[in-house]
């Protein structure tokens, strides 16, 4: 049975984060008066080596068998304190944390009430701690394969690093080709092109046999636990096989023409098409949504590469971890915002990049509305820094840099074009500041605004009225072409992704990572890793870097070959179970089944499948089903302590 509880209470100052609003000494003294509490201390930083050393010594000195730490949120340092008490020989689940920082000192201004609340929280923690039992983690073998979702630069880099490390990688990309948004990016710093970067990465992927690429494929189902995830991939039909030699005959015959999303709508493409020069796999693809299956392409193809009857197939993969690198969407200004959509000389930065790119619709010539503009203006922060009603309230980080790169490229190719950049703050951070200097030398004109400019279409062209804050004057600039430097927004289809992978999104709509600063590439749920612009706006270099960082984190999870799971699974008390089957239907993971013990049908929990949600134990009429770590008596003790009814 549970040995006689000897509880040690440790209160943290957290510098003056807690000490400023909670009288830690008073709480420590109060803790001594609580039942089962043998000793209580308070120290500046409990999470530091000194703090942890203090806990270890106290456990040995008073042979404590329960520890309560009143400090920050368990999501911050529960693992730290667990390993601390484990190294003192105590089972690491005999720990209860009282959150007196985020839930108390940071949230309340009145010091006296906050101290009172801290005492209650410590009392609740001690009440539960006294009833805690030692638990053992479950170890499971791990499959050394990784699913990378998204074939952009981040996903590709993650796949390459994982494969070179020794894992088997499934690279799943929704579009018919790898490369993502970076392939459509034109010029980058030191004269590199997005397509070249993508090409280098694709070459590395092609000659690495550990990477299995599935394009035109999407994740439909995802379940299991870290190290043993089950992923169901649906590979949509491409209708064209390897025999295709990219001759393009079929494309000529195809009657259907739609706007080409690989040129952001600047040119049109056929139903059967090849995305762009550096696309991989180098095979044509038929766009299922618009193809009317007229069969013209089949007739035109001498190599018999096209088969319109191809069906989609689904794959069931058993993977150890998943790297989500699904990237972002460019912000699409609503019609009328800065007169977008009312004049075809008003384009977005992404479209401009396509125009300046050799593989673009105009082979790199800056032809907007049929002619090379004499005057072109960029408006920054479109869709970011809530400049317009439908904008997001964050800075999209990369639009300044890419705007200046393209402005410099325009001035290099067409020196006598007048280029204006309307900005709030030029965010060319780090070494990109040289871009700001080069833009100056290339005679690019900068106009600072605070109130967003207004764009109106007049007979003689586009006129931008803006109040230039540094000269305190309202000026109007007639231009021939206007580029809206749009920012990055979360993908439209992100909700399906969240539904399947259980990730969650933060205030800015991008997927939330565990900690913004210290683990930017891990999702709160173990085994799920985030790379690239899926967690927030990034430029190509940062996305690539996040890709390899995610690979590294996957390696830390899977390198040992086995993984330990949290022991908060459900467990049945056979004597009390009446076999009423209520729990069996409830379990979303189908971890509960009935088995016969001395001729009575009794519930049985398969620990490998149980994720520890506790729904079954709440519904069990007889209380036979209990969740380790959150047993009814433990929670009841907390409830009683919370209302002050129980221990006074």
């Amino acid at each position: 049975m549970i040995q006689e509880p000897r509880v040690g209470v440790f209160i943290c100052h957290c510098g003056h984060n807690i000490a400023a609003k909670v009288d830690v000494k008073q709480v420590a003294d109060y803790a001594k008066t609580l039942p089962n509490v043998i000793v209580s201390h308070h120290y500046v930083f409990m999470c530091s080596t000194v703090g942890q050393e203090l806990i270890r010594e106290e456990i040995k000195k008073h042979n404590l068998n329960r520890v309560v730490v009143a400090a920050c949120s368990p999501s911050m340092h529960e693992p730290t304190f667990r390993t601390a008490i484990e190294s003192a020989g105590l089972n690491k689940y005999l720990l209860e944390m009282a959150n007196i920082r985020e839930h108390c000192s940071w949230a309340h201004s009145d010091k006296e009430a906050a101290t009172e609340k801290a005492k209650d929280l410590v009392r609740m923690a001690v009440a539960k701690a006294s009833l805690l039992e030692p638990l053992e983690e479950e170890e499971f073998p791990v499959s050394p394969t990784v699913l990378v979702l998204g074939g952009g630069v981040a996903g590709m880099r993650a796949a390459i690093d994982l494969a070179e490390w020794g894992f088997n990688v499934y690279l799943v990309e929704k579009n018919p080709t790898l490369g993502g948004r970076a392939a459509l990016t034109g010029w980058l710093t030191n004269n590199r092109r997005g397509a070249d970067v993508v090409n280098n990465l694709i070459n590395k992927i092609v000659d690495n046999k550990n990477i299995h690429v599935f394009t035109n494929a999407e994740l439909v189902e995802f379940s299991g636990f870290p190290g043993n995830f089950k992923a169901k991939i649906k590979v949509n039909p491409r209708f064209v096989n390897e025999k295709c030699i990219l001759c393009g005959e079929c494309e000529i015959e195809c009657p259907i023409e739609v706007s080409n999303e690989y040129q952001y709508g600047l040119s049109r493409r056929k139903a059967i098409f090849f995305p762009f020069k550096a696309a991989y796999p180098p095979i044509y693809v038929i766009d299922q949504r618009v193809c009317i299956k007229c069969g013209e392409c089949v007739k035109a193809c001498q190599y018999g590469a096209i088969n319109l009857a191809e069906q989609s197939l689904t794959l069931d993969l058993n993977v150890g971890a998943i790297v989500i690198a699904t990237g972002y969407d460019p912000y699409h200004p609503p019609k009328g915002e800065y007169a977008y959509g009312l004049h075809n000389n008003i384009i977005t930065l992404f479209q401009l990049e396509r125009l300046l790119d050799e593989d673009g619709p105009t082979q790199g010539k800056l032809i907007i509305g049929g002619a090379v503009p004499k005057r072109i203006a960029f408006i920054l922060c479109v869709g970011s820094r809530n400049t317009t009603p439908s904008s997001k309230n964050y800075c999209s980080r990369m639009c300044c840099t890419s705007t200046l790169i393209n402005a410099i490229k325009i001035k290099e190719k067409y020196p006598d074009i007048d280029v204006y950049v309307l900005y709030q703050d030029i965010n060319t951070y780090g070494n990109d500041e040289t871009l700001y200097e080069q833009a100056g030398e290339k005679l690019v004109k900068f106009i600072k605004f605070e109130k967003p400019p207004t764009v109106d279409i007049s007979p003689e062209g586009i006129v931008i009225d803006v109040y230039e804050t540094t000269i305190q004057e309202e000026i109007s600039i007639p231009v021939d072409a206007l580029v809206l430097s749009v920012g990055m927004v979360p993908r439209r289809d992100q909700n399906e992704l969240i539904a399947t992978t259980r990730a969650s999104c933060g205030e800015d709509g991008f997927i939330r990572e565990v900690h913004l600063k210290l683990n930017p590439v891990e999702a709160p749920t173990h085994g799920i890793f985030l790379a690239g612009a899926v967690t927030g706006p990034k430029n190509i270099i940062e996305s690539i870097r996040a890709g390899s960082a995610a690979a590294s984190k996957v390696a830390t999870l899977l390198s040992e070959g086995k993984v330990r799971t949290e022991p908060f699974t459900a467990n049945v008390n056979e004597e009390r179970c009446s076999g009423c089957r209520i729990c069996v239907g409830l379990c979303p993971y189908k971890a509960i089944s009935l088995r016969e013990i001395n001729d009575r049908m009794v519930a049985y929990v398969e620990r490998a499948l149980c994720m520890g949600c506790g729904t079954c134990s709440a519904a069990c009429p007889s209380g036979a089903m209990q969740q380790y770590g959150f047993k009814d008596i433990q929670i009841m003790a907390q409830v009683v302590a919370a209302t002050g009814g129980g221990i006074k």
Binding site: C14, G15, H16, N17, V44, F45, C47, S48, T49, V50, Q52, M76, H77, T80, T83, R157, D161, E164, W165, G166, R192, V197, N393, Y394, C395, R397, D425, N427, Y429, G430, N431, E433, T434, E437, T469, T470, Q472, D508, F510, H515, L516, K517, L518, N519, P520, V521, T535, G536, I540, I541, E542, I544, R545, A546, S548, A549, A550, S552, K553, T556
Partner: protein
């Protein structure tokens, strides 16, 4: 076990790379020049934009470094020489003498109380004092004492005391009082030689010397601080344990100004932008407002660069919730008023287009950052001293020499999230090489090139 990997520099990026490598099952040597790992982040009080306390998120990582037995910590040591190529680097490391036997020392600190010599404390950017025998800071890892040779009366007695003592050893207070008899005055420097598969340079950043810009009067005027000094002042473990007081009269200031781009974005000093000082200044302004609610804080900037995740909301919160004032204009000159040692800032308020002079009790300079000199490693550096990356669009961390990776501030001025991401990125590449070396050894006999 595979061939080890060497990480040079124990700041947050070095620590993160070391932990990742350890989790990959690779043996890691972490070399750090100071007595303790933690780097610049250990000197910070809070970090933007989440206002977590820096040591709350750093100390657990430092503690984690001690928990892995495949991490070998070599602090207070410097890399003398690096030779060889990828998969087979031979490295000479000089372990500077600490004059304390670190196996016996428990870090109890009684020796520091007895030591008579007071010396300016580098951890508190010379604002506070420490003894000749000292522990770098309370949460240091490893938490061990060491003697500062140049100031210790026993090891290096000043000439006048020397002849007075006529050959008799002086002082020795720490030896008398040390409970575990850990003091060892004749400890010698030792050279350690390692053969490693890959090297990760995480040598980090240091502040540019603000006295190179005489107009700001840093060093001359008492109430002009660098942002690191102010960080120490506002930190609860700092020299003034958390209350903001002026150096000239010890009273809390009523008006504090932050000046951005001191030595950055300036062709006369450093062309590049130091990336994080806009947000660091905003954070410090919020900290000042939290400690002194009625203080008036103003930040003089040219472009407020709030580009990262959560940064712009943080900047907006500082403006609306905490009432931090932002003025667009570059402060070019500071003069000190003789009577109350207040400071007059000369700037043009570019939103109203005329020159203004404002008086402040305290001025904090957001000084540019420079990379720490790394002489031993055979890598090319650009004129600013930053280590060059071979191809930023390919794998963003390999330096010009294959097998040597560079992360964090050593390659470009950058903030903590980017440094940590770079650290993990270098870790996977280094452990791939290290793993290959193992394979290489076992099948070398069959002559097949891995």
């Amino acid at each position: 076990m595979s061939k080890p990997v060497l990480v040079i520099g124990g700041g947050i990026s070095g620590i993160q790379a070391t932990i990742d490598l350890a989790k990959h099952g690779v043996e890691v040597y972490l070399v750090e020049r100071n007595p303790s790992i933690g780097g610049k982040m250990a000197q910070l009080d809070k970090t933007f934009p989440t206002l977590d306390c820096a040591s709350c998120i750093l100390t657990p990582k430092m503690a984690e470094v001690l928990r892995y037995n495949n991490i070998k910590l070599l602090t207070y040591s410097e890399v003398q020489e690096v030779k060889g190529n990828v998969g087979d680097f031979t490295v000479k490391i000089l372990r500077k003498p600490r004059y304390v036997d670190w196996d016996k020392c428990t870090g109890c600190g009684t020796c520091t109380e007895r030591c008579p010599v007071k010396v300016p404390d580098e951890y508190n950017v010379k604002l506070g004092q420490r003894k000749a025998i000292y522990i770098e800071y309370p949460q240091a890892v490893p938490r061990k004492a060491l003697i500062d040779y140049s100031h210790c009366l026993r090891l290096n007695p000043p000439p006048d005391l020397k002849e007075k003592a006529k050959g008799k050893p002086l002082c020795g207070a720490c030896e008398k009082v040390c409970p575990t008899k850990a003091i060892d005055y004749n400890q010698q420097p030792e050279i350690i030689e390692l053969n490693v598969a890959a090297i990760i340079l995480a040598t980090g950043l240091e502040l540019y010397d603000a006295s190179n810009i005489p107009e700001y009067g840093y060093g001359k005027y008492q109430n002009v601080y660098t942002n690191l000094e102010f960080e120490r002042i506002v930190s609860s473990t700092g020299p003034t344990n958390g209350n903001i007081i002026r150096r000239s009269d010890g009273k809390p200031p009523k008006r504090i100004a932050w000046i951005q781009c001191v030595g950055s974005r300036d062709v006369r000093f450093n062309h590049y932008c130091s990336a994080f000082c806009c947000m660091a200044a905003t954070k410090q302004a919020i900290l000042a407002k939290e400690l002194l609610p009625e203080v008036d804080t103003t930040i003089y900037y040219m472009d407020m660069r709030a580009f990262g995740k959560g940064f712009y909301e943080f900047y907006k919160r500082a403006m609306t919730e905490f009432g931090v004032k932002y003025v667009r204009g570059k402060v070019v000159k500071i003069t000190e008023r003789q009577d109350n040692k207040n400071l007059l800032l000369f700037y043009e308020d570019t939103i109203h287009s005329y020159m203004k002079k404002d008086e402040f009790d305290m001025v904090v300079l957001s000084v540019a950052v420079r990379p720490n000199r790394i002489t031993a490693a055979p890598v090319k550096t650009d004129k600013g001293g930053f280590i060059q990356i071979m191809d930023p669009y390919m794998d963003t961390v390999t330096s010009t020499t294959e097998g040597i990776f560079v992360i964090g501030g050593a390659a470009e001025a950058r903030d903590i999230p980017d440094s940590v991401t770079m650290a993990s990125s270098a870790a996977i590449k280094a452990s791939t090489i290290a793993k290959k070396c193992v394979v290489e050894q076992t099948i070398i006999t069959s002559g097949e090139r891995a």
